[in-house]
Amino acid sequence: MARYLLVKMSTPQSQLQTNEARLIRRVCDGERDVFYELVRPYERMVYATAISIVKNPADAEEVAQEAVLKAFSHLPGFRGEAKFSTWLVQITYNEARLKLRKAHLHLYESIDEQQQNDHGDYIPKDFADWRPIPSEALESDEMRRMVQNAINLLASIYREVLILRDVQLLTVKETVMVLGISEAAVKTRLHRARLLLRDSLAPGLDGCWIRGQAYRKVRPW
């Protein structure tokens, strides 16, 4: 479980925000080293946001570092209107998009996006049996790669919402704030992302049993 989640679960939200507000004041008063203490619980969150957009580890690390440094320089302007973590994710998201624009990678993505829209019903594929997956499954590199690849294949409009809602566990309102889209769009895109991911992963994770075909077990357990 990501460290930031453990922080979130073990510390009541109000106490967490009070602690963070105290750390922020100290950083702004010149205790620069305290800044690492402030961002450390969110390292993975920042990295996961970055890699979900730029898709490769080297660029993701660069984006994550840039985002953290930018957060430092803008910290005196942080008014606490959003949670510190949401604010940090928003900066990371903007940095990652900037990186893509600079590399012109969005040109390739936009073609993908044009083939998808938020309207119309999505018909899920007919995989008849998808039993619960044990949590140990993600200890395998192969399984992690499979899930990451499936996420990377999603059009960015779906991938970004999925990462913010289901990986970072941001609320709908926080996701609205980071992406600057409507609440309805967040829900529709998340729904589509989850179904697309399920369709993409189901045959590889569990074998498939499509009408008219024999069940083929491929899971190692």
Binding site: M1, A2, R3, L5, R32, D33, F35, Y36, V39, R40, E43, R44, Y47, A48, I51, S52, P57, E61, A64, Q65, V68, L69, F72, D121, Y122, I123, P124, D126, F127, A128, D129, W130, R131, P132, I133, S135, A137, L138, E139, R144, V147, Q148, I151, L162, D166, V167, L169, K187, L190, H191, R194, L195, L197, R198, L201, A202, L205
Partner: protein
Amino acid sequence: MSTIEISCVEVWREISNYIDGDISPELRERMEAHLANCAHCSAVMGGTRNVVGLVADGRLFQMPEGFNKRLYSKIRGLP
């Protein structure tokens, strides 16, 4: 009072909201009545739940080795 039936398409449309607990009790009841009798929709629901569980697992995105040390060193190098 009997539950008003709901179609597969209506169930698919609401699966994500169902998982997030973002539907009315009435709709939840109708969906559950449908899921109890529809193998395809149950599989779609099960698969989607699996996806949400897998993606939410913190182990999915492993940070590169030395990431935090390099980040800390960048912070220490700030003017």
